[in-house]
Subunit: 417 residues, 2 copies
């Protein structure tokens, strides 16, 4: 017997038929003898509709009212799923965020969970009742409904799993796991059986959006084991004989749980960055601060940074910013020209960032050089390099994205055999 939190996203509860099929899946888990709590998102499309209403009435609407309106989407789903569960003989009860309660701070529209009062839910789970919890929401210090920001239901589920000391948090979604890379680019991409939290974070933050980043950070901090699996594809599990019916998916766990560590877990890419080069900056102490301080003041997030020193007492600084921040960054740097005293500024929005991620590279040399050689063999020019303990990222021309991802996927032996 295990204690499981099951989370179903918007496409998994998109209509009444899907809600019935989610109920059947929850029943299977209950029939295995597990203690189960469920976290649900709004039926897909509902949140967008409610957000659109608020937006249309006032572009600068009060975040407290936005929260009160938008949180109803998940509340509806939780009640409907409770009804669907009861209809097939599973004892169930719905819970809105304020009822549990999920205590959050007062940052409406992007609140953080501070505590979950889970005592009542634990008692009910132990008595055999399934708790169906509305995700994405909580209650703030002023007793008003808060929401956690888009995609916040993943975070609700992980936080609830931590509060319930659950054995696992199963995130049902419209993909059947985490892949070594985007299967739309590499058809031979392979589903990972296990991935470490840190790898998941690196893959998520560079574009593999299976789980919300915050939920993975929270899982890592609270040591919650996540399983990502599909609510659409049924596996060949033999339910009759009583063995666990869970479909193959991807476990997101502590790296200690991964015995056979792959050197490289996956290849991620992002086309959301733009490159800025400030040329012929006087090479003296404080110049990096002169460049990056005004950007950070303007809330422009800077990612990869390279500085190369020339021979004439000047230096070139190259870095990337989010593509949507490029115009703002240009304005900021033009305004700061007097302070920085650069020669010229070059920008290029036509770039892609390719990252090779894996906790195994901590103990294996040669990962970066394999990357560079592979790209060089395809005549792909590397514009910027940045590395961390478990990641090597390069910036290349956007046109080469697919070619680079496919070549690297093969080079690291990730293709499904």
């Amino acid at each position: 017997m295990a204690r499981i939190v099951m989370k179903f996203g918007g496409t998994s509860v998109a209509d009444l038929d899907r809600i019935r099929s989610v109920a059947a899946r929850v029943k299977r888990q209950v029939d295995l003898g597990d203690e189960v709590a469920v976290v649900v998102s709004a039926m897909s499309g509902v949140t967008n509709q409610l957000v659109g209403y608020c937006q249309s009435l006032s572009p600068l609407h009060d975040a407290r009212e936005y929260d009160a309106v938008v949180a109803t989407g998940e509340q509806v789903t939780s009640g409907l799923l409770a009804i669907a569960l009861q209809a097939i003989g599973v004892e169930a009860r719905s819970w809105h965020g304020w009822q549990v309660a999920f205590r959050t701070d007062g940052a409406h529209g992007k609140a953080r969970i501070e505590a979950i009062e889970a005592g009542q839910l634990i008692a009910r789970m132990q008595a055999g009742q399934v708790s169906v919890v509305a995700g994405f929401q909580g209650i703030g210090p002023d007793n008003r409904i808060t929401t956690l920001g888009r995609g916040g239901s993943d975070t609700s589920a992980v936080a609830l799993a931590a509060a319930l000391k659950a054995d696992r948090c199963d995130i049902y979604t419209d993909v059947d796991g985490v892949y070594t890379t985007d299967p739309r680019i590499v058809p031979r991409a392979r589903r990972l059986d296990k991935i470490a939290y840190e790898e998941m974070l690196e893959l998520a933050s560079v574009g593999a959006k299976v789980l919300q980043t915050r939920s993975v950070e929270l899982a890592m901090k609270e040591r919650v084991r996540i399983q990502v699996l599909s609510s659409f594809v049924d596996g060949p599990a033999p339910y009759e004989d009583g063995t666990d019916s869970l479909l193959p998916g991807t476990l997101v766990v502590d790296e200690d749980e991964i015995v056979e560590k792959e050197i490289v877990a996956g290849i991620a890419y992002s086309r959301d960055e733009a490159k800025i080069t400030v040329r012929k900056v006087p090479d003296r102490p404080g110049v990096a601060a002169a460049v990056f301080w005004p950007l950070s003041e303007a809330h422009v997030n800077v990612d990869m940074i390279v500085q190369s020193t020339g021979s004439d007492g000047t230096t070139d600084m190259t870095f990337t910013v989010g593509k949507s921040d490029l115009a703002l960054a240009i304005r900021v740097l033009e305004a700061a020209h007097g302070d920085i005293q650069y020669g010229e500024m070059l920008t290029d929005a036509d770039v892609a960032k390719i990252s090779v991620v894996g906790v195994g590279m901590r103990s294996h040399a040669g990962v970066a050089s394999t990357m560079f050689r592979t790209l060089s063999d395809r005549s792909i020019n590397i514009q910027v390099i940045s590395t961390s303990e478990i990641k090597v990222s390069v910036l290349i021309g956007a046109d080469y994205t697919e070619l680079a991802v496919r070549a690297l996927h093969s080079a690291y032996g990730l293709d499904v055999s």
Copy 2:
């Protein structure tokens, strides 16, 4: 300066444009210097959609889950109206039923309000903030959301007006007041300026469904002055000069407030009844109980009752039941044949009940005889008669409904001149 509760029904908040126009109307009230609280229904169609979801997942769904799902409709509207008010510079805050709180009993789906904790709302009204309250809902003893039953938002508004000691409860709806009869039948029907609670109750319960009956009962008990008015038609009120901008509507008040009492306030009709006659029942004590006890056990509501004694020691009993209860009533009486020992049972679903209502008839004789003569002049046969202090009702063939209503409307001088 007055303290006003304004209530807007589903058609008045049917879409964003209507919500904007409701906001403008609330602003006008605020600009008059009044303290204002607003009660809203769900956007029209939303409640039916949510009820349909519950019904479709399980015809015998848990009323607690139904309540949690269905109450979200009003919650959405309250947040949206708060946003719309803020957008035009009116300070506003939304309140769900549990936040106010509206304390109810635990009868999910048809809860009764037991207390309203209005202190916070009064403080905010006095500070100039408009409270936008989600109607139709409260919170039960077990801390779960309850709903008051269909049309319950009228009751929410009246109860809130009582708790706030408001000067008036303005019910905005899709008609512009209470009429002397159904204008679809009598184009010359007249809008009443004032009507007494008891008259309103008699008119509502016999088919003039402007206000929910419960809300009128509550208003009568708590002495809440109700004004029924249209949210669709704008009156010619001169807003510039600061005089009260309220449109003409109908005030529902204590009869003491009505100086010039009309003898007859209105003519109501209902086609929702069916007639049952049990013939040749032994005329002995206890026979009425033998007939009506099993019906009340089966929750069949009996309305008009007439008993006529024959010469052969038997009696005929005629009475009406709701048309939807007719089949059940027949089964019950057939099963009770041994106890009652009636000769035969006749039924007729093709009847209509016509009622003449007015508090003035307490002090005026001749109202009933005018009714009988008027119908007789049109050769309309009266099947059953029943009277109360302020009402005379007759049962006639359904085909004569319009003819009877028109003739009576003229006979009592109600036609608009």
